[in-house]
Amino acid sequence: MNRRTFIRCVGCGAAAAAAQSGLLPEFLGGVQNAMAFDYTKKLSSVEARHYKKKPDGGIECGICPRHCFVTDLERGYCGVRENRDDTYYTLVYGLSCAVNIDPIEKKPLFHFYPGTTAFSIATAGCNVNCKFCQNWEISQVRPEQVDNLDLPPKALVDVCRQRKVPTIAYTYSEPVIFYEYMYDTAELGHRSGVKSVMITGGYIEKQPLAELLPHLDAVKVDLKAIREAYYRDVVGGELQPVLDRLIQMKESGVWLELVYLVVPTLNDTEQEFRDLARWVKTYLGADTPLHFSRFFPQYLLKNLPPTPQRTLETAHSVCRAEGLEYVYLGNLRGHPSESTYCPGCGKIVVGRRGYTIYEYNLKGNLCRFCEKHIPGLF
């Protein structure tokens, strides 16, 4: 959806009953011109989970570290969870505004069933406001401002089974804000043999994540920087809760990969790459895949150039030197660092060009050449 579509997309339906009330017809025009519709009825009204009612009114959302205090008729920072008379509702349950079947490599998840596809969905909304967001037209708007497809969990799982798509990916915007939709779909999917992967910024509270993780097969986290100031100034969030959740994910055993978007002048120093590598190695392990992704100017950072290839290669070499075993470069089509190399013998075990697998040298999780164990789900 482009911006023009976004501007137009808040449709105007038939005259609503509300428009037929009788005040001032001579003054404000007749009902034949009425185009009001109750947009709230186009949204879901499923009670949200993980919130507390405050003794003096209002609720406190507990889904993410923001802990929004939300009063009657207001919404949390994400724009998709609303207090109605001190009951908190998710407005996007079963309402996908972006749907596509993507290669799993696009997420990117490189150690998770390479060459398979993921039925990818998103709803409107996000709990941060990254100035570089490539999907701001859905992530930074309210659900009534986009076209929504009615796709409840069962329909979603059914379509995956019919089309033989093995995995559902909750992606594009921020799945934490459509937690209930994701949770129920993932749970139902597991009962039906459909896997689930969450593509997230990891800005979620401990308890909701703990309850969700058993229903997920993999998580990819956008670790946007290793500096708190960047999270404050560029992301509109906090770093420490994300680091805490990464450790929680790793300890849970769910398959985990990281992406670090390298933004020129903002998070691209060698020291940051080194600090990142050391943190990952210490807390997540040297065998945790780390993808460096190339930035392209958009949304609120149109003033910066694309990330130079040289910077990405520096990030790669710094992290390899620090001992990380699986470091990838993204948005650099055809670069050798798109492929997976065996840390034992150095040979390509999964050869990639873009989203295409051109070489596959794994037997289960073992390198075909030296039989070293390669972590992941293959």
């Binding site: 911006r3 023009r4 976004f6 501007i7 137009r8 808040v10 449709g11 105007c12 005259a15 609503a16 509300a18 428009a19 009330s21 005040l23 001032l24 017809p25 001579e26 003054f27 404000l28 025009g29 007749g30 009902v31 011109n33 009425a34 185009m35 009001a36 519709f37 109750d38 947009y39 709230t40 009114g57 209002g58 929004c68 205090f69 009063t71 009657d72 008729l73 207001e74 919404r75 949390g76 920072y77 994400c78 724009g79 008379d85 406001n129 930074q140 708007v141 309210r142 009534e144 401002q145 100034d233 509109g236 609120l300």
Partner: protein
């Protein structure tokens, strides 16, 4: 000194709301007390080239004089009264504005309709529609005045040349009060990004966005029945009759006086001050620091008048 006029209806028996004729009398008294009885007529002439003023052209360029009246229709039972919007529209047409160049608006058509406004996008009569109306929507470009950036309603960026803010004064659980500046949350596409820290300094940021700031001419705040607690959702048990309109060109000074009224009603109803209730209206001082207006009561030139059923005007008291 920033001028603020408070007009209070002095007749009893209007607790259920005022008529548009009563509001008209209050508006007239308000502009008089404000020291600018011809404010609206001067606003009309503001955008016109001298050549038109001097009568060199017989047909004025009315496209330059479209007035947007921003209502607050968040809740059906505590929305900007239609009678007030009607009185203001009548005053505007009486000052020379084309009736069809007056647009009563809010975020969505549905919110207007649920507050009993009739949607009108035709070429006759006062127009009334939301930003979600066909062909309207939000600006293509982002506007920023702080860490969050926003798309702004095209009603402000492309359609109107003058904006009159017509909010309802009420308590707000986060901002302390929802008054004039808070009402402009309904002019952007992502208001949910502006509520942290008691809406501070975010409320000021929204009002500092170029289209909001540059189109703003006047705030006329309805304070007839004021919800002094539990807002912004409607809670009838906290509604108290004050009977006033608060009028100012200065959005900060107008809200500052609004806070005084809410605090007064809270005291009268044995409620703790907003500060003690954990929601000081600190966004008002923050807005003043952005240069949007005056928040210091000592630097606000306040004039309070009472109007009665015969239209006679007398000196009044703000907290009487």
């Amino acid at each position: 000194m920033s001028k603020v006029a408070v007009v209070k209806w002095a007749e009893p028996g209007v607790e259920d709301g005022l008529t548009s004729e009563q509001y008209s009398a209050m508006l007239a008294a308000g502009f008089e007390a404000f020291g600018k009885p011809d404010f609206l007529a001067k606003m009309l002439r503001r955008n016109r080239p001298d050549s038109i003023e001097k009568g060199l052209f017989s047909t004025p360029d009315s496209r330059a004089d479209v007035v947007g009246i921003k209502t607050n229709c968040l809740t059906r039972r505590n929305a900007t009264p239609i009678a007030l919007a009607k009185a203001l529209a009548r005053a505007l047409t009486g000052s020379g504005f084309d009736e069809n160049n007056i647009i009563i608006w809010d975020r969505t058509c549905w919110e207007l309709a649920q507050a009993d406004y009739k949607i009108n996008v035709s070429f006759s009569g006062t127009r009334c529609f939301g930003t979600d109306a066909n062909g309207v929507g939000y600006s293509e470009e982002f506007y920023g005045s702080g860490p969050v950036n926003s798309l702004v309603s095209r009603i402000l960026t492309e359609i109107v040349s003058h904006s009159i803010n017509l909010p309802v004064l009420k308590d707000h659980w986060l901002a302390g009060v929802s008054a004039g500046m808070k009402n402009m949350y309904g002019a952007i596409h992502n208001p949910n990004k502006y509520h942290d820290n008691n809406c501070t300094p975010f409320c000021g940021h929204i009002n500092h966005l170029e289209p909001v700031r540059d189109r703003h001419r006047l705030t006329i705040m309805d304070a007839v029945n004021v919800q002094y607690n539990g807002g912004p959702g409607y809670k009838g048990q906290y509604l108290s009759f004050y009977g006033g309109l608060i009028i100012s060109e200065d959005p900060v000074a107008c809200d500052r006086i609004g806070v005084e009224v809410v605090e007064h009603l809270r005291r009268r109803n044995r409620m703790p001050p907003l500060q003690a209730a954990g929601r000081p209206a600190k966004h008002i001082d923050a807005a003043a620091e952005l240069g949007l207006g005056e928040s210091n009561l000592e630097k606000i030139d306040l004039r309070v008048v009472d109007v009665d059923g015969t239209g006679s005007v007398s000196e009044g008291e703000l907290l009487g």
